[in-house]
Amino acid sequence: MALQAIAFYLMAAVTIASGFCVVSARNPVHSVLWLILAFFSAAGLFVLMGAEFLAMLLVVVYVGAVAVLFLFVVMMLDVDFAALRQGFARYMPLGLLIAGFLAAEMVVVATTVAGRGAAKDSAGPMASGATPDVTNAEAIGRVLYTDYVYFFQAAGLVLLVAMIGAIVLTLRHKPGVRRQVIMDQVLRTPKTGMKLANPKPGQGIDQ
């Protein structure tokens, strides 16, 4: 237990410190790198709580894919650091207000849950500690595909719409641009792709 407490405080401290560095780092690329560290230590916190499936998903989806795209975009952009710093004081009150709201909500949720016990009212098995014979992934799958199947499908639909929207917005067919048609290239044979001619001297061949 003591070991778990040490691990928890270590990872929680790293998460908060790297979260602070995300906003305070001067270089945007460093910001993204700190963000990745924050994601990673959050995944560590999930593991401590016995939710190893969620932890791995967090690493696969956020660290492995989303943050790579962040990094990709931030590296490509030519960011003007001085312009970024401007207006910091102007937006400060609004930012503090939102941060205050979030902190208050979290405190409320945390105290309520702590008051009545985390898994008391939940229908299915939540953490692997509750039912040791069912693994974490199985427990999530059972709940996700039975009780919450409509929400799950709706979330999938929203993502699909977003994906199609992104494709529609960026896909442009320019007229006059010759595109590569792989099928045509693969189906080419010597008969269709080659013409044997035997031109007489000084005549050449007509196309």
């Binding site: 070991l3 270089n27 690329v29 460093h30 790198l33 990745i36 190893e52 499936f53 791995m56 998903l57 690493v59 696969v60 660290v63 492995g64 894919a65 790579v68 795209l69 990094l71 990709f72 590296m75 490509m76 692997s128 693994t135 974490n136 992934a137 590569q180 792989i182």
Partner: protein
Amino acid sequence: MAEFWSSPVGWTIITVAHILAVTVVLLLTIAFIIYGDRKIFAGVQARKGPNVVGPFGLLQSFADLGKFLIKELVIPAGADKAVYLLAPLISVTLALGAWAVMPIAPGWAVSDINVGILYLFAVSSMGVYGIIMGGWASNSKYPFLGSLRSAAQMVSYEVSIGFVIITVILLAGTMNLNQITEAQSGWFWNWYMFGGGLHNLPLILIMFPMGVIFFISGLAETNRPPFDLPEAESELVAGYAVEYGSTPYMLFYLAETANIVLMSGLMAVLFLGGWNTGIAPVEEFLATSAPAWVASLVGLLVYAGKTFFVFFMNAMVRSIVPRYRYDQLMRLGWKVFLPTSLVAVVVVAGWRVYTGLPS
């Protein structure tokens, strides 16, 4: 004595010793894998390859190691020093850390976790950071181009690797690598390359191509030729590693090779039955009448043999197939492998539900 080993201190000592043993063996393997790779490459080109240091040049990798270590470390003037030095460290840490869940022999995995395969997937998907960070921190054009290419390439092929892994998970019904291996015990037609058992025989039409897709995606994921676009010598000099020298470069190289061995080992576990011999009577003899250490040793040798077989194919691909063009690479990943593996996931899931047979 047994009490001491189960106490926290004893457990820590035994785990650290286990990790050290796996790492040292892995590093030695990598040294000889690099040698073998160069020998195979040379053999295909009718050259001799490394043959000076030690008998048959066997110690070439160690000579190279010494050379890298005593070279001077030069950091480019415009480089972002912290990120520049962090990049190879991240690469090598992830590449070695992935081996924590690999079932190299019955019960020999350092950490036998329930989501082992997801862990491996997560760690290999993070491998791209070493390359991106190295390319960006070098503050130079060629490394940056190389790192951008690798970011796009590795993210693309992860998707198809993920779907291929899902087909195996569907067949095995578990994400624990040890249990996936055990599900393939018995005759070799129980291996997932051949559909996973006689009752699943029609699935060979799906799973064999899935194995091939996994192999090719593994090549792309580890930046091996013919997908070595991030370091294409003819276009980008050496890609993300141009500005690196000395020990950091060696770490990059080490991580790359460790990842290749990891992908070969993963292929062996997921599709070729891991440490199973593939002959049912032998399996039964090992499980019942042979001493435990013999079973472990045979398992280890079989696993290593399969890994080296996959690596050999890897090396042959490297020496035979010419490099892909970048748009062809992207087309293969997104337009060929992704739809194919997506359909395969649906078919395998449908088969499992339709037949209702246990895995």
